[in-house]
Symmetry: C2
Subunit: 184 residues, 2 copies
């Protein structure tokens, strides 16, 4: 018997050695006492096209939507590309928003981001919060996690070495557990 | 000998009977006395992935980038998905921004949008202007073209029937010709 929360995580970066994926792993490790976690794959989701949708929403989208629907909460980690969220992430959200049972609607969501810049994804996370309004995700407000200059905060094996960031991530994990339980 | 401008247009909607594609056709018809126009295909552009990029930017991206580089100006028509630009369009811009000669940089750009809603893509166009800052596109400021309730403004054959919109599009075409020549 487990009282653990089921949490699914997706990354807006598809790169294997993505700092955002490392960040997601770190969060899931940190919360492993309270969460059963799973990574959702968005690499197989095709470009959104209403003509494709008319013949049925693709299996990769349905599978991800089903996993999100079943999960107690969703974590999105995102880089920042051209002052905003990656097209790859937005495309996934665009598809998910077309599923009839609306897997994102009223889902507790936590967002975090890492980048090599000094501003650490502030613009992309800010824009994601706007997109969340129309899709009716319930994004936790605080704490914000902006991992700036990520190249200096992870080691060769992809493990977080920065103590300050570790402490913020622990706090984020605890806050998200409370957020999910509040909404449930 | 032709003094016509070479203008390339892309649509953020991949749907065949997209109102945005109809709008682009209408603009190109309206400007045919001054522009040689071409539609750029974004339907074959893969999801952005830095690991893919490390092995070479995909041919579909390079081809589009080359066409944009050669063109005097770029027109982007965009729907609004979830309060923002489609992931499909953002993904195209993310890829184009990775090409070394930066095809979007200092390119005169005109943006227009159509939607079935009352707000006619105001949010997505507004966000596209922000993304344009980082990519250094030179988007013309005015006139704004927000085609709201597009389903009432095009006929069965996809031709624009709304006189007010036709007049705005003519004005847009003339303004864009001036804009491109000013920057050249």
């Amino acid at each position: 018997m487990s009282d653990k929360l089921n949490i699914i995580g997706i990354s807006g970066s598809l790169r294997k050695k993505s700092f955002n994926k490392m960040l997601l792993d770190e969060l899931f490790d940190s919360a492993s006492g309270n969460w059963n976690s799973e990574i959702g794959d968005i690499s197989e989701i095709p470009l959104y096209n209403a003509d494709v949708e008319a013949n049925g929403i693709p299996e990769s989208v349905i599978n991800l939507g089903t996993k999100i629907s079943k999960a107690d909460g969703l974590i999105i980690v995102t880089p920042e590309y051209n002052y905003s969220i990656p097209g790859v992430l937005k495309n996934t959200i665009d598809w998910l928003s077309r599923i009839k049972n609306a897997p994102l609607k009223n889902k507790p969501v936590g967002i975090l981001g890492a980048s090599m810049s000094l501003t650490g994804t502030v613009r992309s996370q800010s824009h994601l919060r706007l997109v969340a309004v129309q899709t009716e995700m319930l994004i936790m407000n605080k704490p914000d996690v902006y991992v700036a200059q990520a190249q200096n905060k992870f080691d060769e094996e992809g493990k977080l070495t920065d103590e300050k960031t570790k402490s913020v991530i622990n706090k984020f994990a605890d806050s998200f557990t409370i957020w999910v339980n509040k909404i449930k």
